[in-house]
Amino acid sequence: MPRLLILFAHPLLEKSRVHSRLIKELKGLPDVTFHDLYEAYPDFDINVPFEQSLLLRHDVIVMQHPLYWYSAPPIMKQWIDLVLEHGWAYGKGGTQLTGKMLCNFLSAGSTLSSYTNEGQHAFPIRQFLLPFQQTAALCHMQYLPPFVVPGSHQLGKEMIDEYASQYRQLLQMLTEITVAAHDSTATFLNDWLTPSLHTQALNNGPE
């Protein structure tokens, strides 16, 4: 049974550089289900029972999307609003998702340094992801650190390839290993792999 479900939300994949490259890595990953929301619901008419059955069949839920205006593209919110029903995902009797894991895989146009108190965006990325984190908590799910591809506007092809390989490794880890073995207090999922590499990318940006 595939363990990991990717809820993919990109309104214009045709012009994407990062995500179109990332999802090429999905080939040959046996335990991953890729679910392209904009492709499945071009009119935003989400099939709630189907989405819920998908959730029940997976243990790890990954929301993969670019960060637009400090949040996910609108279909992701539509999905959350419709699928995570009261009495099903949260509230009285809402225990269907208990014990599952949720995590964001996102790309951001600006570098991580602009997501600091002194930077252009004034707050760290994790703070913008609080709505997702608390959504997971409300649904009795464990929220994992996000995988972030920052500075995507300036990334060269090699760097994107590097992130793609991280993407593949992390997905594999999430499907194979029990998460308890890992550090869910890390700031980014990227840190699970090679903290040095990520820190380097963070400090210097791509060349």
Binding site: K15, S110, S113, G119, H153, N203
Partner: protein
């Protein structure tokens, strides 16, 4: 000039009506008063075109009342009638019994023999179905508590006429007039023993119900399938006339018989069609009836004994109003509703004319008394609409209790669905199914016999008829509905329907199906705001799927189709406004020109690049060295 010439007569009546009724309407007097005035005008008092033959015209015109009751029956489903049983028997019974009893006492006090007092009491207790219902319908009161109560009382009175006709011969107290022969008994069954008479009566009523239930529907289907509109009219008339003949033969009230047939047919899908076919005849005959009542008012009699006549009319009407008002109180009607219904029913009805001549030939009442009474009846009929008018103007405005309808469940007579769908072909039925699935009340008009049959079996409310006729629209509740969805074919018929609605129901919102751009142009010219071209949405869905199968993203293709539709609609409006409808002949060449214009417009608008989620600008900006940003980033290494 030969005044007996039927065409001359017809001309006089019609001219009087055409002149007087619009004037009365303009003065807010209502059509009934207009007709009555027309009658007075052509009667012996003023122009003298109509003499005593006016009475025979009146007898003929009473047929309008029969038709009116047939139509009322059509609007009353049996279940609704059953729900009204309490008010029909309670209010109606009390009214007839109470009024008759008081009138009887009064007549006895004037020293009349008891037989004459009984006859007068019975006759004068009745009110005029024609005047009351016509007036109240015109004022839109039929659905209010007062309208419903008035209707209940009138219905009971119509039933009460039957025993009266049966019992009157027992009241004979004068020598029979010389001319009287067995002609006085209209009934063919009078010579039979009583038990057999009763059996025949029951048999006739039962056969009307059975025929209406099991024979008429297949008959209508057959006739509707012939697609000859006049045959439908003929059949509808045949039913009413046939019932009248049958009922007269056995001595029952024709009005009651046709009412019964109407009730039985109320569940039928042909109900609206029947209604709209009978309606014009009913209107004309009722008008004729009112005119002849007006012509009957004998002004010489009024001038001879003005005080006596005034006293009789006043006494009669006051007494009737008091009894009715008391009953209204018992049945807990609001003050204003009670006043309206009491005053509305205050006149003596058309049955009085029949019963008076019946009394004369049966030696019950003396001719002199009858003449006075007929004058009084006619005057009361003319007065009651005026009184109702005065009541509305001067009294009710001050009371304004306007209780938002009392605790009685509203007895619905008309369809009250918010949506009418005209045409239930493939297009209409998709809309109808969708609306019904969401519990939106839909009344459907369609003119395909087999489809109507089938849909009714499946539980839809479908009615047979040509939707572009205003009478059918009216009976389908167009005056109350919120909107109408027009999907009938062909497009010319839709324009016809649009014009009918604009004229008769200007407040009804129209959602119109258009076959193509040219159809849409015509509808725009007709002022339509909600136009739905039937092929464009589906065609664009095919376009989206095609792009998808060719590897385009679904969402992008969907957005493109939306944008295309938006631009196309805008373009449609633009082209429509520069098009000259007079010069436009819709030739093949022009269609090609139109196509060319649209295609060029597509290229122009859609060729522009889309900017949504475009990151090129952002990327360019990010790659440009920006001193301030760089400084910040260097100052804040993480």
């Amino acid at each position: 000039m030969d005044q007996n010439n039927i065409f001359f007569q017809a001309m006089v009546y019609l001219a009087a009506a055409v002149v007087m009724v619009p004037i009365a309407k303009k003065l807010n007097l209502g059509s009934v008063l207009g007709y009555l005035l027309a009658g007075v005008l052509i009667g012996p008092a003023v122009l003298g075109f109509v003499g005593h033959e006016g009475e025979s015209v009146m007898h003929f015109a009473e047929f309008g009342v029969v038709m009116m009751l047939f139509i009322i029956g059509l609007e009353l489903e049996p279940t609704v009638l059953w729900r009204m049983r309490r008010s029909i028997i309670g209010m109606g019974g009390l009214q007839v019994a109470g009024t008759a009893l008081l009138l009887f006492t009064g007549a006895m006090m004037f020293g009349l023999p008891w037989q004459q007092a009984v006859a007068l009491g019975g006759i004068l207790a009745l009110s005029s179905t024609a005047i009351v219902l016509q007036t109240m319908q015109e004022k839109g009161l039929m659905k209010t508590a007062s309208g419903q109560s008035a209707f209940s009382v009138l219905l009971f009175q119509d039933i009460a006429v039957i025993p009266m006709l049966a019992l009157f011969p027992l009241l004979q107290n004068l020598p029979l007039p010389a001319s009287a022969d067995d002609h006085s008994s209209t009934s063919m069954v009078a010579h039979l023993p009583a038990w057999l008479q009763a059996l025949v009566l029951l048999g006739v009523v039962a056969s009307i119900i059975v025929a209406a239930r099991f024979i008429m529907r297949p008959l209508f289907r057959l006739i509707a399938a012939s697609r000859l509109h006049e045959m439908f009219t003929a059949t509808a008339l045949l039913i009413v006339v046939g019932i009248t003949v049958l009922m007269t033969m056995v001595g029952l009230s024709p009005a009651l018989g046709s009412f019964l047939a109407g009730v039985v047919l109320a569940n039928s899908e042909y109900r609206h069609e029947l209604e709209s076919n009978i309606e014009p005849f009913k209107g004309l005959l009722l008008g004729l009836f009112f005119i002849s009542v007006g012509a009957t008012i004998d002004f010489r009699q009024v001038l001879d004994q003005p005080l006596q006549l005034a006293g009789i009319v006043l006494g009669l009407m006051v007494l009737k109003v008091l009894v009715l008002f008391a009953i209204g109180k018992i049945f807990k009607m609001g003050l204003d509703q009670n006043l309206i219904y009491s005053v509305a029913l205050s006149q003596v009805g058309e049955f009085a004319f029949v019963l008076f001549s019946f009394s004369a030939s049966n030696g019950i009442l003396p001719q002199a008394l009858i003449d006075t009474m007929i004058a009084a009846v006619a005057i009361s009929m003319a007065l009651s609409p005026l009184l109702l008018l005065a009541l509305e103007r001067f009294v009710l405005q001050r009371i304004v209790t306007n209780t938002p309808d009392d605790d009685r469940p509203a007895d619905t007579i008309m369809e009250e669905n918010p949506v009418i769908i005209a045409g239930f072909g493939d297009f209409g039925n998709a809309v109808g199914r969708f609306l019904r699935a969401h519990k939106v009340g839909v009344t459907i008009l369609d003119n395909d016999v087999e489809r109507v049959e089938l849909l009714r079996r499946l539980g839809f409310k479908v009615y047979y008829g040509d939707a572009s006729r205003s009478e059918l629209l009216a009976s389908a509740g167009a005056a109350k509905a919120k909107l109408i969805i027009i999907t009938i074919e062909p497009s010319e018929k839709r324009l016809e329907l649009i014009n009918t609605i604009k004229k008769h129901f200007p407040n009804l919102r129209m959602l119109v199906r258009a076959s193509n751009r040219f159809d849409a142009y015509d509808q725009m010219n007709a002022g339509m705001l909600h136009i739905y071209r039937e092929t464009i949405d589906t065609a664009l869905r095919v376009g989206v799927d095609t792009m998808h199968f060719l590897g385009h993203r679904n969402y992008t293709a969907t957005r493109a189709a939306r944008q295309f539709l938006r631009l196309d609609e805008a373009n449609l409006k633009k082209l429509s406004s520069i098009r000259d409808p007079d010069e436009y002949i819709n030739t093949a060449r022009e269609k090609i020109e139109e196509l060319e214009q649209t295609l060029q417009s597509d290229l122009f608008h859609l060729g522009k690049s889309e900017k949504s989620w475009d990151e090129e600008g952002l990327i360019a900006e990010a790659l440009q060295p920006n001193p301030i940003n760089n400084g910040q980033e260097k100052a804040a290494p993480k």
